[in-house]
């Protein structure tokens, strides 16, 4: 089993898996290769589920160290540990559809998540007054675009300023669309390039096989 410690083994594994995933997606291949691709994709779902455990154990270790050393916010570490372990023990013990498990979700997870998201509106209004300041041509264009979209988006705006909607729709469907498509196309081309680099064994940093070298000027 010493080959498991060798970097070359993982490089070969990475190249084989990349070929098995990418080639059937882009080309017509024999059924056996498609079956292998399906099996690999199914396997990633299981690996992903196991990765949650890795995250959970890492989080527990981090919080325990924080509590032991009485670092700032250590009390919250206790809350995290108690709640997360309670969810795991109750979830495994009584099942995902059990009333106690669902109560914990409904009483803690859902209200907490909703509250954090809802708070954004307060920061948004504050940012409206402070961030949208016209101090250059570019910021003026940005602010004008934001104003038009706000007028179009709100039913009250459609009622009071009907002229704003067609302009905002034009901005959305042409100007914003062009900018967003740049990202979409770049992402797609980047994915293909990444696939080729993985298949050639050129992208080792992505899977942690080599560390990315950080130059001193980059660090600063």
């Amino acid at each position: 089993m010493s080959f498991l410690k060798k970097k070359e083994f993982y490089v070969v594994l990475l190249i084989v898996v990349s070929i098995a995933i990418y080639i059937p997606y882009f080309f017509r291949v024999p059924q056996e290769l498609i079956n292998l691709q399906n099996w690999l994709v199914d396997t990633t779902v299981i690996i992903g589920a196991l990765a949650v455990w890795v995250g959970f154990i890492t989080s527990t270790r981090r919080e325990v160290v924080k509590i032991q050393r009485r670092r700032r916010g250590w009390f919250y570490g206790i809350v995290i540990l108690v709640l997360s372990w309670a969810m795991v023990i109750i979830g495994i013990g009584v099942g995902k559809t059990n009333v106690i498990f669902e109560l914990l979700q409904r009483a803690f997870v859902l209200p907490g998540d909703s509250t954090i998201y809802a708070i954004i509106v307060f920061y948004l209004t504050s940012a409206g007054a402070r961030a949208f300041r016209v101090n250059s041509f570019e910021s003026g264009v940005l602010t004008l675009g934001a104003l038009l979209l706000l007028l179009k988006q709100a039913p009250l705006g459609e009622l009071l300023t009907p002229w704003a909607a067609p302009v905002a729709v034009y901005l959305e469907n042409n100007v914003a669309m062009a900018a967003t498509r740049v990202f979409s196309v770049s992402l797609a081309v980047g994915s293909v390039v990444l696939a080729i680099r993985l298949m050639l064994g050129q992208e080792m940093a992505l899977v942690g096989l080599v560390q990315r070298v950080v130059r001193r000027d980059e660090e600063q």
Binding site: D42, A49, E102, R106, Q153, A154, E158
Partner: protein
């Protein structure tokens, strides 16, 4: 000068208090502003309305609690509309871990317990019975990995047991649901990109139309896909949800929120103006000195 100085230095807590008061008052006492229906929501309505008996719809919840309030109106009205169509079969799935709870809430909102049952999953929605017309398969981990697996190996990736452990293979067999190509429509309620993954693995692979209802921050990206023809239709955020509720004659939460939404947006515009007046009248002059 003191007037501009006051405008430039308004304590942000006043903004927060005003937003809180405006939102609360308008949610309690909405005055019902007129609403214009956008073309993309009209397309969504027509697409769902054209479902035929025997069609199979996957309704996916890629939704967390943070986005639930924004999309609750769309979930209720669109699902009710699908269930009104005679002979249409539905498979509910979830690709976010919190989603099954919200899914159950939506099912309970739109349905009633079937005679002889006292708990989930046995709800009847608009005359459609659990296990006969629809099933709830619950949460699948892996998001795009699971959707890719579902596209390639539908029955094995879906499994034979629903979220409650009940064997639903009879439902799948009797409706001849064998492969991903048997799916006629996918509707995804998203605070993550579930519809994007269905588009990549179902629309691009089999031509299955995908409809997305998404939270506000995802609207720009969704419009690109919609205009490119990758999504069959979209229901953008709470505004889209309100329009759909109006179209489907399902008055509710999203429509009620529209007045508060409008007024808070106008307050935001007012703040942008105040901020700039204060900046030019006081802060900038101060800097110039």
């Amino acid at each position: 000068m003191s007037f501009f100085k006051t405008l430039a230095n308004i304590d942000r807590r006043y903004y927060y208090a005003t937003v809180f008061i405006l939102t609360t008052l308008l949610l309690l006492f909405p005055f019902g502003l007129p609403l214009k229906i956008s073309p993309e929501v009209r397309v969504t309505y027509d697409r769902i309305d054209s479902l035929q008996p025997g069609d199979l719809v996957i309704i996916n919840f890629c939704l967390t609690a943070s986005g639930y309030n924004e999309l609750k109106g769309a979930c209720n009205s669109m699902i009710a509309h699908v269930f009104e169509k005679p002979g249409v079969k539905v498979i509910f799935t979830a690709t976010a871990d919190q989603a099954p709870i919200m899914l159950e809430e939506i099912i309970a909102n739109n349905g009633e317990l079937m005679p002889g049952y006292s708990d989930y999953p046995y709800y009847s929605i608009r005359g459609k019975q659990y296990g006969v017309d629809y099933i709830n398969m619950g949460y699948y981990p892996g998001l795009f990995k699971w959707i890719a697996a579902l596209s390639a190996d539908f029955r094995n990736s879906l499994g034979n047991n629903d979220w409650y452990g009940v064997d639903v293979s009879g439902f799948l067999d009797s409706n001849n649901i064998m492969e991903a190509s048997d799916v006629d429509l996918v509707i995804s309620f998203d605070s993550d990109d579930g519809a994007g993954d269905f588009m990549r693995y179902f629309y691009l692979e089999y031509g299955t139309p995908v409809i997305q209802s998404m939270i506000g921050v995802m609207v720009a990206g969704a419009k690109v896909e919609y205009n490119a023809g990758n999504y069959a239709a979209i229901v953008p955020s709470i505004r889209g949800a309100a329009e759909y509720q109006f179209l489907a004659n399902y008055p509710g939460y999203a429509l009620t929120q529209m007045d508060a939404f409008s007024v808070v947006q106008f307050f935001l515009i007012l703040l942008m103006v105040i901020g700039n007046v204060g900046y030019y009248g006081y802060t900038r002059k101060l800097k110039e000195r």
